[in-house]
Symmetry: C2
Subunit: 156 residues, 2 copies
Amino acid sequence: MSRFRSYMQVALAEARAAAARGEVPVGAVIVAPSGRIVAQAGNRTRELTDPTAHAEMLAIRGACAALGQERLTGHDLYVTLEPCPMCAAAISAARIGRLYFGAADPKSGGVTVGARVFAHPQCHHVPEIYDGLAETESARLLRDFFAGRRGSGGQA
Amino acid sequence: MSRFRSYMQVALAEARAAAARGEVPVGAVIVAPSGRIVAQAGNRTRELTDPTAHAEMLAIRGACAALGQERLTGHDLYVTLEPCPMCAAAISAARIGRLYFGAADPKSGGVTVGARVFAHPQCHHVPEIYDGLAETESARLLRDFFAGRRGSGGQA
């Protein structure tokens, strides 16, 4: 298995753990230039009653806390779903080097659609972007989760 | 003094306190439908070594924690500077009712310039927006702060 795929497997495991907690299944991993995972997180908006607690945000905050630094220059972020504008802007603020994401998010994404956060001069740092990594499995987790919630009367 | 101006004075006080801590001087306040202030915060990115710790983010997270809820429907947010795309998207996710901001931010803003987060169909909630409130004082605080940092050799 390629190195990239193995990091995405960790992100997918975080997404599955999020689903098991009743959270929208998205997972993220931050990898140091050395290849070491410095933070990994799943979505916890419900558990923390915090609308900013997306997987990417928790991973960025965790990595910065662990390293005692505000910027993650040279670090890579793997996430199972296209980041929303909030997370894309946080990725820029943290100076993440490379962004790898799984499924596209035409409904709420902010990278390839909508706000396209990295495509404006007001964005002071643009990561290298690699999409479509493990996109089938990433999308299937989300589809199954929302199908299950509709089936049980939960709100999607 | 109008009610709006008095809330903005609290946000300005948070911005001044941020400057005194060596942080970029931006302050934010969240007001409940009753008129009660439920959270107020200044920028703490340096102190917390957290690139997501903008005033608006801390205020939203503080209000959600205080109220034990993920959404701030009917609540208003006052902030001294135009929100960046991260904060604008968080304002949308939190379902803030009205956004009042002071100075425009042509360099890093995400509301009236750049990503224009609220102007896309991928943005599922758009607050009412009122800009230019106390903009002279809000902008002066930022200008003085960056002038002082340049003068002392600090990075702007």
